[in-house]
Each structure stands twice: as structure tokens, then as C-alpha cells.
Symmetry: C2
Subunit: 337 residues, 2 copies
DNA sequence: TTGTAAGCGTTATCAA
DNA sequence: TTGATAACGCTTACAA
């Protein structure tokens, strides 16, 4: 007790392997070996060293280890916007999975433009990887990563560059199947409410809808674009529903669809009686009774699982060619169709 | 062009200060000085070095710098749960602010129990700080941080330990004022729907409600606890509203209040006609027309601003005593009271 | 099985 | 103004 106070009052001297070595009367390398599972070291000595280390609160300095090994165990994650519920949920799952394999996710929120320069700056660390989750990342950064030898894994929008891995949901298939379902249920006057046209996911999803309509000899009556938020989705849906006699409104994501639901309510349109409304993603809110939204699930766990697997493979063999993994979307039938 | 291909095909040699020094025909120290604003170096030489460095894509290795300076520029952020919309929004804002000052937020999602061991492991890095945002962090970790000399900043739940900084919303005052407002508007039969009782924020908010009621010579008719989620909030509210004749239901957070709103709807109770429902936090959803929730804002930007300021002060003077900053809550009157 | 020593990429100190 | 050199804390040949 007094001992503790004594050492605390003393100028804070950093505890290193040498400190432990002195305490245990062994060499610095013995301490290092005690912490590397495979290394030669008598069981008795290892035990003693580990005990002393634990008492002193010693752990090998990750910066020094990283410098030595040329690997930081740091993973940059560029996420479109944490204001987007899907991205936020995705990030949560990804963080938990990375934490579990002792890789450390550094979060770059792509909301404002400065995010790109932040990534650039972050590349001073020998990152284990850069993971892209939506958002718009400047193309030159991809090149910088390649030059710096930083592996890149993109999710949600395929990046075609050598040795870049991709994980992507089958967007078109998902919404094509959903549209077929709506057609089979007798819907024929379709509207499509997309996200920003430059977003890969929005374009893909639109293609799915148009494809299914085309198969049935149909065309959308009306289309509009939003920005994947509830507010803008509501405004766009209001216009779409007022100016057109739709019996189905397909939205490019759930937030937009939830906006559309309020628009329908405002216009005293019955959902699904007068018009069906469907979304994409299956965010947590979609399941709330008040929305009970029929949607296409963009499954987070499989996507994150694929990212983790790709990361581990890439770390094991940095030179291997890029891989692409597709994740199946899942139709979730609830009450709005 | 061919040059680029040539160097690319070659075994990837890491670009270091030495590489640039050789290219520029100067010493390694000159390169280092070129990157340190204050250092002595002829303008001409600095310019040349910087140009060559840019062409070669060189940036000083952050691991080496960190090892040298004993500072990593890494900040661990322990966040209760990314499934919680408030925590997710908070994290987004915090990440953007840290990115801006070139500190790198490592996200630890406290959802599962392993989060504590992850933090322990992460302390191998000489972290600039550990920021706590909600969730339950094992008490011994606080002590380990102190031992390792890692500054700690807690937000949302005060940690009283030497040299720990705190940022906290005036929870009690916020809900006390809100309750007074409801009383002034003629409400008298109050229910309180809390979060997990062991959560500091829930206890504080409850105290505020009880305080205001007491001032008016009132007591709550019924109380229940939830877990800060919509689902559990809805279930608890349903019971509360069915079994008691309440004219005001004060909820400890917005998610719970939104659950309460659906419960009221299910029971054909008019809000605010039959019963007022209010929340706490002012998450983005609270403003949606479909909810239009009267609530108490737990302002994110001021809290994050305070955290950043405290971090910078702490880094400048690691030994200074801990500071506590309180953030004023703000009554947001919408349509449910 | 153990210890010594070299090197990972920087920056700061000290001479020149 | 510049360049050599010594840390920073670790791991790993290499030698004993």
C-alpha cells in the first residue's frame, strides 16, 4: 500500500521489458519470449516473468512491436455517415468483430469533405488495412493506398483496382425479386424513389426494379431521387404520390421508405391498401410496429464476416489478387405491401 | 510511366526518410527537419526535399514518431452501444472532431462483455486518452489507465478518480424543468419510465422528475424500468398505461418514449390529449413528423466540444487535477405534451 | 535454454 | 545550416 503510493509519487517512469527483466533478474529477451507463445523459455521462468509483469502492469508497447514487425494492427474504417442508421449499425458490428480479433478500428466519418485529407494523414501509420463502407472516397486515395502497400477492402461499392477486395450485396437481385413479388400480388402502377444517382447502390437497386418491370412488360410511372434520408424521402414521396396514381412505391433504402410512409399518411393514402411501400436495408426501425416495413434485408453480419475473412487472408498473403464476395439480399415481408 | 511499373514490380521496399535523403542527396536529419515546421533548414533545401517526398509518397512513419515521442495520437473511445441512436450520433460527432485535430478514434463497442478485455489489450498502445461514452466499463480498467498514465475523459457518467475529466449533461435539471412545465400545463397523474436503474443517467433523470413533483406536492402514480430501447420501452409503457390512469408519462430517453408512443396508439390513447409523453436526448427521430416528440435535448456538439477542449488541456498538462464540465439540457417543445 | 546485439524509422543532441 | 549519433521499446538471429 505505502509502496504503491511511493511509486506513484515518484516521477512516472514508463514500465518496459527492461524494468521487468531487472525485477525478475533475467534478460530483456527472456521477457519478450515470455510474451510470445511459441518461444523457447523454461516454463518456470515464463511463469515468474508473467507474474511479475502482471503485478507491474506491464504489456509490450504496441508501437515498438509495430515498428519492428512493420504492422500496426490498426485498421482505418471510412464510413459514409454515422447519421445514416444503416452505416452506424454496420460500423457497430464491424467494430465488435475487429475488436474480437484484436484489430483496432479507427473511425473516419465521411460526412464532411475533410474526411479525405484525414485518411491521407492517417496513412502515416502502417495500417493493416483500409476498409471502405459507403461514402465517397477520392479516387487518388485508392492509388495512394496501393503505393503505400495498404490493403483495401471495399463494402457496398465495388472498387476495381488490383489487389482490392470487395464485399457487396446483390442489390439488383434483391429489389428485382421484391418487385416481382409486388407484381405477383397485383401491383402495376410503380414509382421508384432512389438515392443520390451517383451512388452505386441506388443505381443497382433501380436497375433491379426496372428489370423486373420490364420482364412483366411494365415501366415505372414516375421516378424521383432523394438522398437516403427520411426528411428528403418524405418530401420526394409526397410529390410522387400526389402527382401520380401509384399502387406501389419502391424506395432505394429504408430511411426513404419511412419518409414515404409519413407522406402517404399525410395524403390519407392507405398503406398497403392504396399503395404498397417497400424499402431496402432492413434497419432496426423497419421492424417497429409503427412502421412494420416490408423491405429487402442488406445483411450486416454476413458482410462483416466476409470482410473479416478477407482481411485475414490478405494479411496472410498480401500479394494475392483481389477477391469479390457477393452477399444475398433477403426479402422481408411485413405489413406495407 | 514505365518507371512506375518498374518500381511496382520490384519487391515493395518501404519508403523511409533515408530513401528520400538518398534521392535528395542530403542527410536523414535534413529530411526530418523538412517535416518539422520550426527546424533550421534552408528554404531551398526544404522545398526540394518536400517535393521529392511528395513524389515518392513519403510521410514520416507514425509508429516511429510515436515511439520516439511517447505519444501515439490514438484515442480509444468506449461507447455503450452503437445500436443506441444517441450513442451512434455522439460517436459520429466525436469522430469528426477528433479527425479534425488529427487524433485518431479507436472505436470499442461496449455491446458485449468482451469490450472490457479489448480495452485492456488496447492499452498496449501509449494512448493519448481513453474517452468513455456511456456503457459499463469495469472499474479496474480505470485504475489500469491511471497506472499506465493514460488520461481518461468520461462523458455521461461521472468517474471520480484523480485526474479524470468529466463532461456531463445536467440530467436532473433538464427533466425537473420539463416536469414543472407539464405540471404548469395541468398534468398531475405522472408515470416515470426509466432506463436500467444502475445507469447514472437514468437515476439522475428520475431524481429530476421526483424533485419537481415533490415541489408541487405530487408523487408519481407508477414507475417502471426499461433498457433504453424502443422495444422494451413499448412493452413497459403498455403495462404502465393500461394499469394506471396517467395523464403524463415521462421517459428517461427518447427511444423509450418512442416505444411509449406506439403503446399509447395501441391502447387508443390520444397523445397529448389523454396522456403527455416526453423523452430525453432529442435524437434525430424525435423530430420526425410521425413522432414529433417533446423532449429534453442532451446536446451533442457542446459535449463533444468540451471533450476536445479537455483533451487538449490534459495533453498540455498531464498532471493537472480533473475537471468537470456540465452541459445544460434544453427543453424542446413539440407535439406530445 | 539463455543472453547479446542488431535493427525497425524517427527525432533531438551535439559537433562541425 | 548541416550531418553523425544516440535513444525510443521491442523482437529475433546468432552465439554461448
Amino acid at each position: 500500500m505505502t509502496d504503491q503510493n511511493g511509486s506513484q509519487s515518484k516521477r512516472h517512469r514508463r514500465v518496459t521489458a527492461q524494468t521487468i527483466a531487472d525485477l525478475a533478474g533475467v534478460s530483456r529477451s527472456a521477457v519478450s519470449r515470455a510474451f510470445s507463445p511459441g518461444a523457447y523459455l523454461s516454463a518456470e521462468k515464463r511463469h515468474r516473468i508473467l507474474k511479475i509483469a502482471a503485478e507491474a502492469g506491464y504489456q509490450p508497447n504496441a508501437l515498438a512491436v509495430g515498428l519492428k514487425e512493420g504492422r500496426s494492427n490498426l485498421v482505418a474504417v471510412f464510413v459514409g455517415s454515422m447519421r445514416n442508421p444503416y452505416d452506424a449499425a454496420f460500423m457497430g458490428c464491424l467494430a465488435r468483430s475487429l475488436n474480437a480479433i484484436r484489430k483496432w478500428p479507427i473511425l473516419i466519418d465521411g460526412t464532411d469533405k475533410s474526411a479525405n485529407s484525414a485518411v491521407e494523414e492517417l496513412m502515416r501509420y502502417p495500417l493493416d488495412a483500409l476498409i471502405l463502407r459507403g461514402g465517397s472516397m477520392a479516387p487518388e486515395i485508392v492509388e495512394h493506398c496501393a503505393r503505400a502497400g495498404i490493403p483495401m477492402i471495399s463494402s457496398g461499392r465495388p472498387v476495381s483496382a488490383p489487389r482490392v477486395d470487395n464485399v457487396c450485396c446483390r442489390n439488383a437481385e434483391g429489389l428485382r425479386e421484391m418487385t416481382r413479388l409486388l407484381i405477383a400480388r397485383g401491383r402495376s402502377r410503380f414509382g421508384f424513389l432512389g438515392g443520390p444517382p451517383e451512388f452505386y447502390s441506388s443505381a443497382q437497386r433501380r436497375a433491379g426494379v426496372l428489370g423486373a418491370l420490364d420482364e412483366a412488360g411494365l415501366r415505372p410511372i414516375a421516378e424521383a431521387t432523394g438522398d437516403y434520408t427520411v426528411e428528403v424521402g418524405a418530401a420526394a414521396a409526397r410529390r410522387l404520390l400526389r402527382e401520380n396514381d401509384l399502387d406501389a412505391l419502391v424506395c432505394a433504402n429504408d430511411a426513404t421508405a419511412i419518409g414515404a410512409l409519413s407522406a402517404a399518411r399525410d395524403l390519407s393514402l392507405d398503406v398497403p391498401g392504396d399503395v404498397a411501400v417497400v424499402g431496402f436495408d432492413d434497419i432496426a426501425m423497419a421492424e417497429w410496429p409503427i412502421f412494420n416495413l416490408t423491405t429487402v434485408r442488406n445483411p450486416i453480419e454476413p458482410a462483416v464476416g466476409a470482410i473479416i475473412r478477407l482481411l485475414e487472408k490478405r494479411l496472410a498473403d498480401p500479394g494475392k489478387p483481389g477477391e469479390s464476395i457477393s452477399i444475398d439480399a433477403v426479402i422481408i415481408e411485413r405489413g406495407t405491401h
